[in-house]
Amino acid sequence: MENSKIIIGYLIYLPIVVSLTIYVSKMLFKNGRLFMIDIFKGKEDIALATNKLFEIGFYLINIGWAMLILKISYYSTSGMSYQSLIEILSKKIGGFSIYLGVMLFINLFFFFRGRSKSRQSLKLTTKPQLKTPK
């Protein structure tokens, strides 16, 4: 009887976490396409392939982490009440959501960085061409 509430907890936790990860990753890489095209200087096929690969990596990391922190360890002689189930679940789901947000911002930071780097190198390669009078 005591185990059944933990299993209910898992059944609530897993769908929420997996659907959240899929949604965030879909949105992130749908909007990140522009950055990728900028980073690869307009070579669209390479940019889209890299984007897809990064998306798969994002899924793997986040769903793997979600499964790693799945375990609910709760021991009590009087059984588990719904209140403690809610509290444990809120800690797990809220913590995972914060983690996902931080991952999103890190990814966004990398996008910006890659974009500004590729722009810098573009400027560096075009400048000498302008200066040499041939």
Binding site: V24, N31, I86, I93, L108
Partner: protein
């Protein structure tokens, strides 16, 4: 039904409403600043704005849900109101601080950009 579960069922809708509403307002009114920063590149600004909104929702709602885990044990209606208002107030003040921080960063970026030109 214990008082704790009652307080959770009041707390979650209120905080979700506040967070979503504020995020939406920032999303709409912050676009003009982003346009200024990204040299009026409309599609890029749209995607950046979307991602910022999603990140904001994830972190804030995540934190709001996370606080439930450390909720104190409630035994009376009086205590319920006290705890609810303290927690809500703390999160709203946190949001306000983050908001002013954002405005400062935005003005700083725009100033340094206009100095460069």
């Amino acid at each position: 039904m214990s008082y704790n579960i009652l307080s959770y069922s009041i707390y979650i809708p209120v905080i979700c409403f506040i967070t979503v509403k504020i995020g939406w307002l920032f999303y709409k009114h912050g676009e003009i600043f982003l346009l200024n920063i990204f040299e009026y590149n409309k599609t890029l600004v749209n995607s950046v704005n979307n991602l910022l909104l999603i990140g904001y929702y994830l972190v804030n709602l995540g934190y709001a849900i996370f606080t439930i885990a450390y909720w104190e044990h409630i035994e009376s209606i009086n205590q319920l109101i006290n705890t609810l208002s303290t927690t809500l107030g703390r999160i709203i003040i946190l949001l306000a601080v983050l908001h002013y921080n954002n405005i400062l960063i935005l003005t700083y970026i725009i100033k340094s950009k206009s100095l460069k030109q």
